[in-house]
């Protein structure tokens, strides 16, 4: 699927999202995502997003062990740091990211080689964020409605 198509789909969903169909579309995306294995991260993204950190006496204890192989990071070697600040051996994390695109420790989703998947992830993340802030928003809305119906300004 081309990026333009994905763009249209995403915009379409956002447009539909303005009215009562929002819940239905979110449920559909949740269902699709539940049954889609995470695609791998792209090599380009891996290079862009990760950082190589040299293990020193100062940072060794804070960094701890690699949770994939449960071995330590020897002094003066490099550890790979993901954007979520979790550290792994290069071989360990690249093996995982060949088949997946999230951090083993905190499941933070990284951009994948599949733009459609990424678009759906973003929609779900936004939806969850909205849901968390939802209570406040609903209160706002009902306040506004009350103000409108009370005819205070008429």
């Amino acid at each position: 699927m081309s990026d333009q198509n994905v763009h249209n789909i995403v915009n379409g969903i956002r447009f539909i999202g303005e009215d009562d169909h929002e819940e239905l579309d979110i449920e559909r995306i949740k269902f699709i995502m539940k049954h889609t294995p995470t695609p791998p991260i792209s090599e380009y993204q891996f290079q862009e997003l990760t950082e190589e950190v040299i293990i020193t006496k100062r940072n060794k204890e804070r960094i701890g062990d690699c949770t994939i192989c449960v071995n330590e990071f020897p002094l003066d070697t490099e550890a790979i740091k993901l954007p979520c600040k979790h550290y792994y051996h290069f071989d360990c994390i690249t093996q995982w990211l060949k088949m997946h695109s999230n951090c083993p420790n905190c499941r933070t989703q990284l951009p994948t080689n599949n733009s459609e998947y990424d678009a759906y992830s973003r929609i779900l993340a936004e939806h969850e964020k909205k849901e968390r802030e939802g209570i406040n928003e609903d209160e706002d809305r009902s306040m506004r409605r009350q103000t409108k119906n009370s005819g205070m300004f008429s």
Binding site: K34, P37, T67, C69, V70, N71, W96, P104, R107
Partner: protein, 157 residues
């Protein structure tokens, strides 16, 4: 035999030395990737043993196997003891997200077994594997729990 990854050796040592409460995992002598697992039914669940009768019920045997690509893929786990639970089918297969798409190599044998123990305390009939059991659970929870207790008494002794 292929050399065993250090991670599996470390995990095994810790499982044997500091077992989690109600859980034991013993590696098979001939295949160190195959474990005999025993989980005790959690207290206040229909899978708990009869407290007043010493040694009666509530002991579930499972098998656990670490495939060659472990920890990149989840351990394979199955109940060997018959159990009446909406997320465990007749063959002992377990419906648990971390054993499937939610697996992460930061999880371990210990965390998997603790999650299975927690699943015994909190059956989830809305995401069933054994449909008939889930239906029973949803339509008459009290009766389903009674059956689960009965099965525990009959098979998990």
């Amino acid at each position: 035999m292929n050399s065993l990854p250090k991670r599996i050796i470390k995990e095994t040592e810790r499982l044997v030395k500091e077992p989690a409460p109600g859980i034991s995992a013993t590696p098979n002598e001939e295949n160190l990737r195959y474990f005999n697992v025993v989980i005790t039914g959690p207290v206040d669940s229909p899978f708990q043993g009869n407290v007043s009768h010493h040694k009666s019920g509530g002991v579930f045997n499972l098998e656990l196997f670490l495939t060659d690509d472990y920890p990149m893929s989840a351990p394979k786990v199955r109940f060997l003891t018959k159990i009446y639970h909406p997320n465990i089918d007749k063959l002992g297969r377990i419906c648990l997200d971390i054993l499937k798409d939610k697996w992460s190599p930061a999880l371990q044998i210990r965390t998997v077994l603790l999650s299975i123990q927690a699943l015994l305390s909190a059956p989830n009939p809305d995401d069933p594997l054994a449909n008939d059991v889930a239906e029973h659970w949803k339509s008459n929870e009290k009766d389903a729990i009674q059956t689960a207790k009965e099965w525990t008494r009959l098979y998990a002794a």
